[in-house]
């Protein structure tokens, strides 16, 4: 538990420091995730150490959105004002993104003559 927590926090801390130093447009934790993947490649034993804690956190990922989501109480005016427009934006852009992404995958897979996994 402690080594796993130390690994996750250490990778995040390294990521935060590196974004500050280099001015990269990546959030610190995203860079921390890339650092941890590099860590897995160099020290494969890290995967076993991190797995139980990482699976525990990711299994309850939805809970972590609740405090920020509750911040909606400060935006009820914005949502009421832009409500219909925001609904159209979210629905249309999400449908376009899923459709375009799936079509791009199958088009390139067909070009490469890959067998579909259906």
């Amino acid at each position: 538990m402690i080594p796993a927590l130390l690994t996750l926090l250490g990778a995040q801390l390294a990521g935060e420091m590196l974004t500050r130093v280099t001015g990269l447009p990546l959030p610190g934790p995203v860079l921390g995730m890339l650092i941890l993947i590099a860590g897995f490649a160099v020290f494969p034993g890290l995967v076993t150490i991190v797995r139980p804690l990482a699976q525990g956190i990711l299994g309850n990922l939805s809970l972590l959105f609740v405090p920020a989501g509750t911040g909606v109480v400060g935006h009820l005016g914005t949502l009421a004002g832009y409500g219909p427009a925001l609904a159209v934006v979210l629905i249309v852009s999400t449908i376009l993104a899923i459709g375009a992404g799936a079509l791009a995958f199958t088009a390139v897979a067909k070009l490469m003559k890959m067998e579909p996994e259906a």
């Binding site: 934790p29 925001l86 159209v88 799936a102």
Partner: protein
């Protein structure tokens, strides 16, 4: 004897009450989700947020007071983002085998998600903080909040937009991809994860295990790509 008002004013000052309320609201939301047969519209986060927002309104509690307790949960978003390294690592052999189709789907999905959202919003006259909050809405919440903050958006508004995007994606993906005639589980799952992050991934796992694994992969990769795409798209339309 201490009366209720005194106990309340004592508890309302410390972080314990609102931390407990956050976990209780989520437990209630999760129970509703299970009772509804895990339908995507009965999203536990949406239910928990509605319960807490109602409670804050009823007790006349300002959001900063609530957040003093809830910040302990909120803090875990950072380590959770780092933990996404694990499913990515586990799926690395899959990635190598289908690298080019995955890359095409990732770039297309990510750019279309952020680009179409910002373009349509701009056409409706949405600008400034709200527009910046929209740009990262397809990335998983911990990452989207960080990007939104950097772009001058509102992280709390982004959190709500991210959750709504996930629910819309989870509801639309199966009928949409059936209509498009796409049957490859890798394509279906991956595109859903790119556009609709964790909530879409949870939906993909219900449909097919391969779709679920590829959705998790799409979510993780788009978390990285959105950090680059969202600022570019926003600069284009501002």
């Amino acid at each position: 004897m201490t009366d209720f008002a005194e106990i309340w004013s004592y508890l309302a000052r410390g972080p314990l009450l609102w931390l407990t309320a956050t976990l209780a609201a989520y437990a209630a939301g999760d129970a509703c989700f299970r009772a509804a047969g895990r339908k995507p519209w009965a999203n536990p986060v949406l239910i928990a947020v509605a319960l807490l927002a109602g409670l804050l309104w009823l007790t006349d509690t300002p959001y900063p007071t609530y957040f003093e307790g809830a910040q302990f949960v909120h803090f875990l978003l950072g380590p959770a983002t780092v933990a996404l390294a694990l499913p990515l690592w586990d799926n690395l052999p899959h990635v190598r085998r289908a690298a080019l189709p995955l890359l095409a789907a990732l770039v297309t999905g990510s750019v279309v998600a952020a680009g179409s959202a910002v373009a349509i919003a701009r056409a409706f006259g949405i600008t400034g903080e709200v527009l910046a909050s929209l740009a990262p809405k397809s990335a998983t919440a911990p990452v989207a909040l960080g990007i939104s903050e950097r772009l001058g958006g509102s992280p709390t508004l982004t959190a709500v937009l991210v959750i709504l995007t996930g629910i819309i994606g989870a509801i639309c993906t199966t009928p949409l991809l059936n209509a498009l005639g796409i049957r490859d589980w890798r394509a279906r799952g991956f595109a859903t994860g790119v556009a609709a992050h964790g909530i879409g991934t949870a939906r993909a796992f219900q449909v097919h295990p391969v779709a679920g694994a590829f959705a998790g992969l799409g979510m993780g990769l788009n978390a990285v790509l959105t950090a680059f795409v969202a600022p570019l798209v926003l600069r284009l339309f501002q």
